[in-house]
Amino acid sequence: MRRAICIAAIAAWTLALLGCGEPDLEVRGTTARVVGETVKLELTQGSTPFSDALELIDSSGRRFDKATLRSAIETDRKVSLMLPPGAATGTGIVQVGRTDGGTYDVRLNIGRFAVALDSLGKVEALPLPGSEVGRTEVQAGPAGKQASIAPSGAQLVTLLNDDVKVFNLGRELSSGGAGLIVSNAKAVVAVDGGAIVGTDAQALVLSFKQGAGTQQDASFVVGNVSSVAADATGKRAVVLSSCDTDNDTQPDSDCVWPIALDGSNSTLGQVIAVDNAPSAKQIAIATVDNAGTERQLIVVADGDRIYGITIDGALAPQVRSIAWPGNAPNSASAVAIDVGTSSLGPLFAIADASNSRVQTVGFDGDQIKPVSTLPVPAAPSSLSYGRGARLYVAAGNKLYFADVGASNEPKLEQIGVESTQPIQSLAVQK
């Protein structure tokens, strides 16, 4: 027996000597990153270069291909990729192909920020649970109105009185070097590489060009804007304004203006008047596939009703509405709206401050339907979806969370992430 053990030990030593051909990969640098961030990988040591294969596997096991990662192969030793929206928070593995058929597996922590803007103009990037990045804050201006994150998660646009400012949202919050003073600005929404700003008379399409600052690509006269929204593709936007439909120079209706976004070739669609009282406050839009053609789903939150609008190509828009389930809010209290994606399709969430609740609605064909009502322990001031249908609601300086797509009876629970000041506007990376 002892003889056998010794022979085995000698054999093991021999294997140790022979099996030492290729040591394991060493990864250097900052591996705690966030969604939307561009990550560069460089093979600084080692004889086997990169092939053209690249893939990301997130902590839920979902795989993202090269196209989704907006991968750029600079040389056979340098690649870059963007951590895509929709990637689960937690440890993900970037698999870079090797020319010998194997892969280099680089582990990264994919984090996600909730960005809170307070009324005094302070922006705080709050890491959500599972993230390893740190918390950062920036004093953006003297007063904060609205914050919006572009669909890719890479840029944050803030509206501070009349000042539109852009920030890069990497593992730290940094100035994007772009921005514009827009007189009487009322609302903003970020799209990748730009923003749409609504004022008391117009809607402006802005783009932020690398090295060229901010550029105004288009402007449309739409009346006094109360809310603007864009879909996840960045191709479609909508503006909600109070407009004059009987040419007496007095606003008399809530009007929805579709915009097809295409830089300086952006076009304004036919106006849709949804009622005869200029009182609605919030709008959101989602684009879905309807048997091979595009369909826009739009929700407008008004004081007494919630309107659902469907636009199918060139067909006339369909406007439907439902009464608020339970007590109707006063018109000023529909404070925020956002759209998330679930297995049932887009889910629109509307914060109702006067009744301390969040109402979610969806579409069944062209008919708008209530989905769920979620009580909030305090009056909500803002809300935003994160990944999928993960909904975050701000009330005071606290954040509440519910996955509204995962349960028939979702419930908002406070998470241990707080802002230092009451949150005016909340935006979460998708």
Binding site: G19, E22, V27, R28, T30, E42, L43, T89, K411
Partner: protein
């Protein structure tokens, strides 16, 4: 770990395994086998004897096979696993409120199962899940509490597949914390005197106040002829938890079959019972402490048997009158005990042998030096080769690939 490390590790393990006969101290398991009222006195002596052996540089521990509790769990394994799986799903959805709810339900089931003698692994993994949820939910105190409860039950680390390095870090932090900086007290009043297990670890006879790491414990109290008493309780930091336990008489002793078998073998020669006990308790050598009939807590004639093979290599007896230290000295040959040499050789310890002789297998003989053994030099060669390889490999092989993340 570099790829070469796996075979290196394997060979190290093998080297250590083959080197064990040359130097590693065998573990001695001390088992009290007193029957009925004699269990508590023999368990008291077993604890003192193990401590004495450790003082002498031997590796020794006390063990005793728990009785069959006879408890039927109020929860099924299926109930526990269903609740646990629900908690896992909620965890994957970052729905931490539902993780707490479902993990709490699973813990309730697992605690019932552990009381009935199973479910330990499920109990620990549920605590790991709860700790991770609390940690990610910003509840650091809750995370520490759950991880600490897991650690004091079992040192099994959280699954690396399910939990990220933050949770592994919490586990290491909890394990590294010393008992003294996170401790409370347990004040026990047990009538009649009995032996106890805490979280499955045999403690022995226990009365008065014990210092214990804060956390959740299952206490199992047993005295032959009485109904086993089990309870989950929490020890809090710098607080004293008092437990007053009055055992009820049972119609049967409840003693395990292994204990009965060991008692029979203590009167004859080591057999299947000793081999089973060594395997179950993880020892290389056994010491049995049995008592003559008529044993009381104040006066008890105790017989010691020590061995590992087919015969007892040491046998002695003494009368215990309440001074455990004196009784142990007597049993080990330093006091007023009787050393029994009959039936298994001509010596009981080295002092009875001549110069350069040792008492081996109850016979004085001149031990052959290990430097004359063929395997000794083989091991030296393997070890030297390994050291040389460990130095040479990192120097000779090419540097591994490095990726910079920017």
């Amino acid at each position: 770990m570099p790829r070469a490390s796996a075979p290196l590790l394997l060979s190290l393990v093998l080297s250590v395994a083959s080197a064990a006969p040359a130097g590693a101290a065998p573990t001695v398991v001390v088992v009290p086998t007193g029957k009925g009222d004699a269990l508590v006195p023999t368990a008291t002596l077993a604890r003192a004897l193990a401590a004495k052996l450790r003082e002498r540089g031997e590796s020794a521990k006390v063990a005793y096979q728990p009785p069959q509790s006879g408890l039927t769990s109020q929860s099924s394994k299926a109930d526990a696993e269903t609740a646990y799986n629900t908690a896992v799903k909620a965890f994957e959805m970052l729905d931490f409120a539902n993780v707490r709810k479902s993990a709490g339900e699973a813990l309730g089931h697992y605690k019932n199962l552990v009381k009935a003698g199973s479910g330990g692994a499920g109990y620990v993994k549920t605590l790991h899940l709860l700790a991770a949820a609390c940690l990610f939910d910003g509840d650091n105190a809750g995370a520490f509490k759950a991880m600490n409860d897991a650690v004091i039950f079992s040192r099994t680390p959280p699954s690396k597949k399910r939990f990220n390095p933050t949770v592994q870090g919490l586990y290491r932090k909890v394990v590294a914390q010393s008992r003294d900086e996170h401790a409370g007290s347990l004040k026990l009043s047990i009538s009649p005197p009995a032996v106890i297990w805490l979280n499955g670890r045999f403690i022995g006879p226990a009365t008065g106040t014990l210092r214990a790491r804060a956390g959740l414990y299952l206490i199992d109290v047993y005295r032959p002829g009485h109904v086993p008493w089990l309870k989950w309780f929490r020890v809090r930091v710098d607080k004293t938890r008092a437990l007053t336990i009055a055992l009820k008489k049972a119609p049967v002793s409840g003693e395990s079959g292994l204990t009965k078998l060991l008692r029979r073998e203590a009167k004859s020669s080591p057999g299947a019972g000793v081999q089973t006990a060594l395997g179950r308790f993880g020892g290389d050598e056994i010491v049995l402490l049995d008592a003559d009939p008529g044993c009381t807590p104040t006066r008890c004639t105790v017989r010691m048997r020590r061995g590992k093979g087919a015969t007892w290599t040491k046998s002695s007896q003494t009368t215990y009158t309440g001074d455990a230290k004196a009784a142990v000295d007597a049993l080990l040959g330093g006091g007023a005990g009787t050393q029994i040499a009959g039936g298994f050789g001509q010596c009981t310890n080295d002092t009875e042998c001549g110069p350069n002789e040792r008492c081996i297998d109850a016979k004085c003989s001149r031990p052959s030096s290990i430097v004359r053994k063929w395997w000794f030099w083989t091991l030296i060669g393997v070890a030297a080769g390994g050291v040389a390889a460990a130095i040479a490999i990192p120097l000779s092989r090419p540097d591994g690939p490095v990726i910079e993340v920017r």
